[in-house]
């Protein structure tokens, strides 16, 4: 997993763990501040970074030997966004017709 010393994965695991806890705390605090429309965006941004942290480090996606796994993850996210975006597009433009 890591070419250099054996103990280094531990360090990265605890670092990621800390970052995730911080992220949770940040999500909670950010929700209490009135950012108008950006509240949702900030919450999603923090959640996505946390998810990426878990996926890349905890699920060993970062140093996966093949690019195939990354392709699987990327295409899944693409199709999910497709579902959300195109159906939202219909609801969004419904008031103009």
């Amino acid at each position: 997993m890591h070419d250099h010393s054996k103990s280094s994965p531990l360090k990265s695991y605890f670092a990621v763990w800390g970052a995730l806890l911080l992220g949770t705390f940040l999500t909670y605090e950010a929700a209490l501040i009135d950012l108008g429309r950006f509240n949702a965006a900030v919450a999603l941004l923090i959640a996505t970074t946390k998810a990426l942290l878990v996926a890349l480090f905890f699920m060993h996606l970062k140093n996966a030997s093949e690019k195939l796994l990354k392709l699987v993850v990327a295409s899944t996210i693409f199709f999910l966004i497709l579902l959300l975006a195109l159906s939202m597009f219909d609801y969004g433009t419904r008031s103009f017709s």
Partner: protein
């Protein structure tokens, strides 16, 4: 699946008992299992994706009512649950690391911790559901959500039907997630039993990695559920 693990793999001819007949070698079997698991996680993402799509659309249509309904859920409990799941993810990763570095007792300890965190999560979830049950916020016949002001518009009351949709989505999404958590606990009991019997060696611990991937996925789903369901409109 890690490179160093593959580098360490010595072709000492010791036939690994768990190598299935139709695979050429352990590398192929391990890659196949991890690719299979990632693809299964892709189906799970789309499975939850349908629910997120319904949530997204109704949140846009009935933002005020969703805010009122979400305000009635205890966000602190949700936050602690998120922290609990993150800790359980850490213990899973440590268990895999322990398996790779042949630390059997640490691995078993970490697996037990993971399951404890899982049970703790379900416990907190149970408390939340009990509160909801008492407040008659469970959708269906006994549902009542009268005269609850919309956050930010104190004189405007939330429409009970739209609030019922929020709670329907809330119970289905968190319920499905809790079901996945229960399945996860089942998998980890089986993993614990195999670890106890010493089946996992630095060379062969694929089931542990697959179990870990599944657990991390369930954690990621919760990472998204927490802000979207609990913190819709919390600012004063």
């Amino acid at each position: 699946m890690s490179d160093s693990q593959a580098a360490v793999q010595s072709h000492d001819g010791l036939h690994n008992p768990a190598l299935l007949h139709h695979f050429a070698d352990e590398g192929q079997q391990r890659d196949a299992s991890s690719l299979g698991m990632w693809i299964f996680l892709a189906t799970e993402v789309m499975f939850f994706g349908g629910l997120f799509c319904a949530y997204l659309i109704y949140r846009r249509l009935y933002f005020g009512d969703f805010g009122a309904a979400s305000a009635s859920i205890d966000a602190k409990l949700g936050g602690t649950n998120t922290a609990v799941l993150i800790c359980s993810s850490l213990t899973v990763v440590l268990a895999i690391w322990a398996a790779q570095t042949a630390r059997r007792s640490l691995m078993i300890l970490m697996l037990i911790f993971t399951m404890l965190f899982g049970v703790a999560f379900l416990g907190i979830k149970g408390i939340e559901y009990k509160d909801k049950f008492e407040e008659h916020h469970v959708p269906g016949v006994s549902f009542s959500f009268a005269n609850v002001p919309i956050p930010g518009h104190p004189d405007q009351y939330a429409n009970p039907q739209h609030a019922q949709i929020f709670f329907a989505l809330y119970f289905i999404m968190t319920g499905l997630h809790a079901l996945h958590m229960v399945v996860g606990l089942g998998i980890f009991t089986w993993l614990l039993w195999m670890a106890w019997k010493g089946r996992f060696t630095p060379r062969y611990h694929t089931p542990l990695e697959i179990g870990g991937l599944y657990w991390h996925f369930v954690d990621i789903v919760w990472i998204y559920l927490f802000p979207l369901l609990y913190l819709i409109d919390r600012h004063p």
